[in-house]
Amino acid sequence: MHSSAPAIQLDRISRHYRMGETSVRAVDEVSLTVPENDFLALLGSSGSGKSTLLNLIAGLDRPTSGSIHTDGHDLASLCSVDLARYRRNTIGMIFQSFNLLPRMTLEENVELPLRLAELDRAERPARVREALERVRLTHRLGHRPSELSGGEQQRVAIARALVNRPKILLADEPTGNLDSATGEAILTLLRELQSHLGMTIVMVTHERPLAEKFANRLATMADGKLLSVGPAKDLRQ
């Protein structure tokens, strides 16, 4: 099912913060390989370092030590401009609180990454429509996020994350603000999109049952360290 070349390769990644006199090891010597088209769930309690690890993969943060290779990029060697381009073209991100821009319509929110990618204006409407079709929200193009339910907002966020056709989708607690039924619906959609579009998904969550149900593999973190990595089915057993 998985091709042999990894989509994400983390090698002894650490991220330390200074908090006054003390140094906090948010991520501590984590090595992890995520193959292409994998759906990996990062599990762990609050403060375990899973979101920090996701931000490092997203290129929003830089590791204190170690190396990250994603889709042929050595993130450590990228300057800030190249890192922005990497986020734009290779990564799609969704968040717990959706992070849609409230004054923009759905259409404009989804168009935003295309503006940043400087895609020709004439091509944008079709791309936006295509992305919204995938999340089944084309009938609400002109609505603002506040007029939508939580599940719908997350679907818009997914459309926005996919509009630039990324190879890696990073989801930070995508079901955290949703009821369990809606959460399941969102993850069903993610799986569906993955099988259609063929992309790698790394999802941070603390909801083990959902992770076990939808992810291929589970990785568990605690105190910045990676405790275990394995196929979801094995863990379920």
């Binding site: 931000n55 997203a58 929003l60 943060d61 800030s80 401009v81 922005a84 381009r85 986020r87 734009r88 073209n89 990564i91 991100m93 968040f95 992070n99 821009l101 004054r103 923009m104 935003l112 990454p113 503006r115 940043l116 990618a117 400087e118 204006r121 926005r160 630039n164």
Partner: protein, 453 residues
Amino acid sequence: MKPRDLTDLAFRNLRESILRNTLTTLGVAVGVASFVAIISIGVGLQQLASRRLSESGLFDTIVVTPKNNFRGMNRPNPEPESGKPPRALDEDARKEFEKLPSVVEVYPQIRFFTEVRFNNKPYATVVAGMPDSSKNSGAFDGMQGHFFSSTAADEAILQIEFAKELSDQPSSLVGQDLILRYAERQALPTSATSRGTSMNPPDAPSGGFSIVPRELHLKIVGIVETEPAAGYGGYGSGRLLMPLEAASALRAAQVNDLRDIVRDSASNKTSYSSLSVRAKSPSQVQSIEDSIKKMGFRAFSLLDASKSLRIFFTVFDLLVGIFGSLALAIATLGIVNTLVMAILERRREIGVLKALGASDSDVQQLFFVEAGVMGFLGGILGIGFGWILSRAMTAGTNYYLYRQNLNPIELTAVPWWLALAALVIAVLVSLAAGLYPASRAAKLNPVDALRYE
């Protein structure tokens, strides 16, 4: 991001906090308005002074005299290398001057001392011929009566001081007649002065003339407060003004006529002791003056005085501009404040933009454009406000002048370059004000920004 997308997003952001951004933009507008209004006074005063001086004929007039005039008679020829006899300042020369670029008109200076009889009493005065163009010079604005009905009318306009000599109630003089007594110059035949010499050398003395006393009835049509000077270099300002053609037709003997006796008059063409050449504007005086000198005449102008005037007003504008800029400086602090507040409010949004792939420079440019848009809109509004303010100042000043029975003036002026400069300054100053907030927004850590609630 492409410029159009940046502008779109900037306008959207500005609309979002419409009240605060409108107030900030109004702050810029008030700053620009005060700048425009204050500079407009400087420009208006400069234009007023330039206009008055230009109307006086001091700075746009070149007085041309032939090289062989009285002053040069006992002195060595200033341009001996030419080797040619000096050119006569005649009708041909006049036509040549008229053909020069930027020459508005060429006219002879006619001024002569003479006597006027009014109510059988003699009054000594100076008569000056006024070209028709002087009607629009501003010197006759607010005069009593009217300007000459035609260029050859036997009419007179009196200077107020002279009119007061004639009557205790000068205004009653309009419509009355006076008698001008003058000496007409009549040329004698050349043979009468050749003293029997059959061959006259080219620079032999001229034919000479006789002087015949004449009288002319003139109707007083107006009384003028100011002292219109038809150029300079004459013998003093005219106190009795006549249409130039009428004055010219009198062939009244002038002081300079004495030199004509010793001048070559091989040709019988009318020659002038001097001609006034008026340029379109003082800036063209130098080139016209040079061209005339090349033709072989003497030419004088007061251009240097005009240059000093321009330097004075440039310094004056600079000083008033500094005061005018103070309000604009305060307005820029408003922009800094607004944008810094916007960073706090839009912290999370900046984080989202960066997560979606916006580079630091995208974020920086976005804030920059927002500052520029506020500066641009504030600039446009400010130019409008400034213009209204300047018109109000002119109207207020003219109301005061009207109450004082004085003529209205254009105190202020907002030329296109001032409007353009104000707009450019408003945008540049606003961009400078956006420099700090924009770089602060660009440096925001996206992880911290996304965590911000």
